[in-house]
């Protein structure tokens, strides 16, 4: 009885990943990132630092941007997860994906999936950010290639387009 209170090394996790129900049994000592990349083969989220500093592993958990490397896998039990693969595909790009392509906001591309998901979380919360607010909104995502300028351009354009649609 007492031992049971101390839990198990193997846990069962069920979650919605990009709209699909996923149930898996896994050792508890793993991160959400490793589940996504290794078990589900969703390799869009990248590991750049493993300690929540670079944002390359950003995914949306229940609509909020989080570092998947900082989420112990069983914490995602019951969660709704959106990865870059769930945002849009080649045939139907999400407006942010389209804008990143159009503005040349992509170079090596390693930060891109996380950057786009942070941008999505930002626009979901604040549909009309200033350029400064955009910079703050992506402050958890490092990019070493672009100097961020064209990334900010891309996000700004989507925000403006959203505004246009609403008015």
């Amino acid at each position: 009885m007492e031992e049971a209170e101390l839990g198990n090394e193997i846990v069962e996790i069920s979650m919605q990943v990009n709209g699909v129900s996923v149930v898996l049994r896994t050792p508890a000592n793993r991160t959400l990132l490793s589940i996504l990349r290794e078990d589900l083969r969703l390799t869009g989220a990248k590991e750049g630092c493993g300690i929540g500093e670079c944002g390359a592993c950003t995914v949306l958990m229940n609509g909020k941007a989080v570092n998947a490397c900082m989420v112990l896998a069983p914490k995602a039990d019951g969660a709704r997860i959106t990865t870059i693969e769930g945002l849009g595909d080649e045939a139907r790009l999400h407006p942010l994906q389209e804008a990143f392509v159009k503005h040349g906001a992509v170079q090596c591309g390693f930060c891109t999936p996380g950057m786009i998901l942070s941008a999505k979380a930002l626009l979901d919360e604040n549909p009309n950010p200033t350029r400064l607010e955009i910079r703050e909104g992506i402050s958890g995502n490092l990019c070493r290639c672009t100097g961020y300028q064209q990334i900010v351009d891309a996000i700004e354009e989507v925000a403006a387009r959203k505004q246009g649609e609403e008015s």
């Binding site: 969703l42 990248k46 670079c54 159009k102 040349g104 591309g109 100097g147």
Partner: protein
């Protein structure tokens, strides 16, 4: 001149990258794939190394524990000197040395077993100060060498000593720079697959497939043809995915060969930061002499670069420093010595800029200091001394084969930012100490491509299919900069076809000849050069085959609007129809061409010669605010202009400029790899901070185009010019804000006593 207007960008790989479908090295898995991890020692400098792998080898899931003794081929390798131990033998020369590899069924098992490897050695005192290591009586670090000097480059022109003695003004100043981390977002990773045909196939995060192939072949002791390096997307390089990335691939290949299974070796960030080479820290002693009229007469420079424990590309990096040690200025008397010196620090090598950011940091501040002493404006003194059309460089090269546009470039930036007006209202240490304001600028020229540092040639294959589609392949590597897109756009332009026809075939080292490394801002210049020449050949083949059909002489055949035309517009074959006709004529619309860079010359003893076949001209200016209470320097504005010959892909070009400025800003204000006794103290992104979006201002990039006759496409390169002058521009701006000269990188404002 054109500005950064918004224009839809083209990248052949953008869609797969924004959708997360691009597969980087670590995204690859193969059946029966095993995992490998490196094992480090706690030593910085030691001898009589002994590695006991028995306990580790007994751990669950472990397939093999590998040491240097297991290497069938060369233990040591390198691009210039073969001194880098892919696994340490009897000595440890730096804290990043790897002593063993553990291969296991899972990464976790490998990591667990790595803790069981027992390492012993006799420690030696580490030598970490390059100036100390430079002394004749210093202990010699590298076995088999006479002293710690890795290389010595000289510039001997005129008689600097006498000229300095005769100068009205002599400025004597020492500048110091630091170790800088590349901080590519993707750490090193390699997956190696032993193929049934005996070939070792490598999927690696690296910049230079052909260099990597040499490392892999060396460690395996196998010929180049039995190693195939495949192209996969690379998560940033900036010069940093050279030696270390190649060694990681070589180690994975070794493990794969010894275990006869696919093996993945992916680096954790802390391993990457511990082991990978950095930007060279420099100590630069300068004496610059000039007359009261502002004309620079002579320069004496003694420059010491910390090479760390291994040679890597230090002789090349420091060679560029020597060639460009006086900036883009005409100086009659130069006596310069540039040394690479071995220490027990982490080794240093290629990093975007490649020996130029350090000398520019010194020279561009010296010019501002000279301006002040002569009472001239910083613009005026630069105009007086800068190279002009037909001028002779400090290496005796006549700049007469391309447009020398440094004046145009500088004046463009000065006008755009309002330099003179802003300089006049800079604080110069007066005013609110929490908000001092200053403007600053720097200029440079940069020798394009490799220059006298290597064999400079590259090839392209155009393979038109009979259904009208086209395969293009070039011996240049996509590092994230958009090389493939530039090649596609160049081919599109020269064949006059729809872009949609062209598929870039990502080459492997087995499918195209060695095109040299994608470094030195040479990708666009050399790659597009090869594409242009291959397109010419192809057009000749097609024109000769179809001239009859089009009723004109082959030389009159035109390629435009996705069609092939004779002299009259109604003599016209659509591209599809033309390809069908070629099939019927049994003619292959296929061409291969190599572009050989124009010749360069160099005399090691005098440091004279035509160092580079052409130059890129750059100017960057910044505005800063400085808070003396907090020590914070804030970048308010950046304006950059570069004459890159011709813009092939404008949005990507702008991205290179913005990104180069951001990296240069990091080097100027934020970044320093901290070492203590040869051990890196900030080997994580928590402790080593690179610029975030909030740290950067809005930037303005101006593109100046003077198509370069030495380049078949007219284009030169931008990767490095974008980074190499932002630090001195910031230092000059900080001076104008505070009245204090910043002679160290990164720039630190000493606190003002309250």
């Amino acid at each position: 001149m054109t500005t950064g207007k918004r224009e839809s960008a083209y990248r052949n790989d953008a869609v797969i990258k924004v959708t997360g479908r691009a597969r980087y090295a670590d995204d690859h898995t193969f059946p029966r794939m095993a995992h490998c991890v490196p094992v480090y020692s706690d030593f910085v400098h030691a001898e009589n190394l002994s590695v006991d792998t028995r306990e580790a080898a007994r751990q669950d899931g472990v397939l093999k524990v590998i040491t240097a003794a297991d290497i069938p081929g060369a233990v040591r390798f390198g691009q210039i000197e073969r001194d880098y131990p892919m696994l340490a033998e009897d000595r440890i020369l730096s804290h990043g040395d790897v002593v063993a590899l553990v291969v296991a069924e899972t990464r976790e098992a490998a990591l667990e077993a790595a803790r069981q490897v027992r390492i012993s050695a006799d420690p030696l005192p580490p030598l970490i100060d390059p100036e100390e290591a430079f002394r004749p009586d210093a202990p010699v670090i590298r076995p088999g060498t006479k002293n710690n000097i890795v290389n010595h480059h000289k510039i001997r022109r005129g008689d600097a000593r006498s000229a300095l003695a005769a100068c009205d003004i002599v400025i004597d100043h020492t500048f110091r720079t630091s170790f800088v981390e590349h901080a590519y977002l993707e750490p090193e990773s390699a997956v190696c697959v032993p193929r049934p045909d005996g070939v070792m196939e490598v999927y690696g995060s690296m910049q230079h497939p052909f260099t990597t192939r040499r490392f892999v072949a060396a460690i395996l002791g196998e010929p180049l043809a039995r190693v195939e390096i495949r192209t996969v997307p690379v998560g940033g390089g900036f010069g940093g995915k050279d030696d270390t990335a190649a060694v990681v691939c070589a180690r994975a290949a070794l493990a794969a060969r010894l275990c006869d299974r696919p093996v993945k070796l992916t680096y954790a960030r802390q391993w990457s930061m511990r082991e990978s080479y950095k930007r060279h820290p420099y100590v630069l002693h300068y004496r610059m002499g000039l007359n009261r009229d502002g004309r620079v007469q002579a320069v004496e420079a003694r420059i010491i670069a910390d090479a760390g424990a291994y040679c890597s590309t230090t002789p090349w990096v420091t060679w560029r420093s020597a060639v460009q040690c006086c900036g883009p200025y005409r100086v009659e008397h130069v006596h310069a010595d540039v040394y690479g010196v071995a220490t027990n620090n982490v080794f240093t090598g290629a990093f975007r800029g490649f020996g130029s950011p350090q000398v520019n940091f010194a020279v561009e501040q010296l010019m501002d200091m000279a301006a002040e002493k002569t009472g001239l404006s910083p613009l005026e003194i630069r105009r007086i001394n800068m190279v002009t059309q037909g001028a002779e460089t400090i290496t005796g090269q006549l700049l007469n084969n391309h447009t020398v546009s440094i004046r145009e470039v500088m004046d463009t930036v000065a006008e755009k930012i309002g330099y003179e007006e802003k300089r006049a209202r800079s604080s110069r240490g007066k005013g609110d100490p929490e908000n001092l304001y200053g403007v600053g600028l720097a200029i440079c020229y940069r020798g394009a491509s490799l220059g006298a540092e290597g064999m400079d040639f590259c090839s392209a294959v155009i393979n038109c299919q009979f259904d009208g589609s086209i395969l293009l392949e070039v011996g240049i590597h996509e590092n994230g900069q958009g090389a493939e897109s530039a090649m596609i756009l160049t081919l599109q332009e020269h064949l006059g076809v729809d872009r949609g026809r062209i598929t870039y075939r990502q080459p492997s080292t087995s499918s195209i000849p060695d095109g040299g490394p994608t470094v030195a801002s040479r990708g666009t210049l050399m790659g597009c050069g090869a594409v242009v020449l291959a397109a010419k050949k192809l057009k000749k083949i097609i024109a000769e085959a179809l001239a009859d059909t089009l009723g004109c002489a082959p030389e009159k055949v035109r390629f435009q609007d996705d069609a092939i035309l004779g002299e009259a517009d109604d003599q016209r074959l659509s591209w599809d129809e033309a390809m069908r006709q070629l099939f019927l004529k049994r003619v292959y619309p296929y061409s291969f061409a190599g572009f050989r860079a124009p010749a360069v010359t160099w005399d090691e003893e005098t440091g004279q010669g035509d160092a580079y076949f052409t130059y890129v001209y750059s100017c960057q200016a910044v505005e800063v605010s400085v808070n003396l209470k907090t020590g914070r320097v804030r970048l308010l504005n950046v304006v950059a202009a570069h004459d890159i010959g011709k813009a092939v892909n404008r949005p990507m070009l702008l991205g290179q400029i913005y990104g180069g400025i951001a990296q240069g800003m990091g080097m100027a204000l934020m970044e320093k790899v901290e070492t203590e006794g040869g051990v890196i103290r900030n080997a994580s992104f928590r402790k080593y901070r690179i610029p975030k979006a909030m740290d950067l201002p809005e930037m303005t990039a101006l593109i100046i185009e003077n198509p370069d006759p030495t380049s078949p496409s007219g284009a030169k390169g931008i990767g490095e010019p974008a980074l190499e002058i932002i630090a001195p521009a910031i230092a000059n701006a900080v001076y104008h804000a505070t009245g204090r000269r910043m002679d160290r990188l990164p720039i630190r404002i000493e606190k003002e006593d309250a």
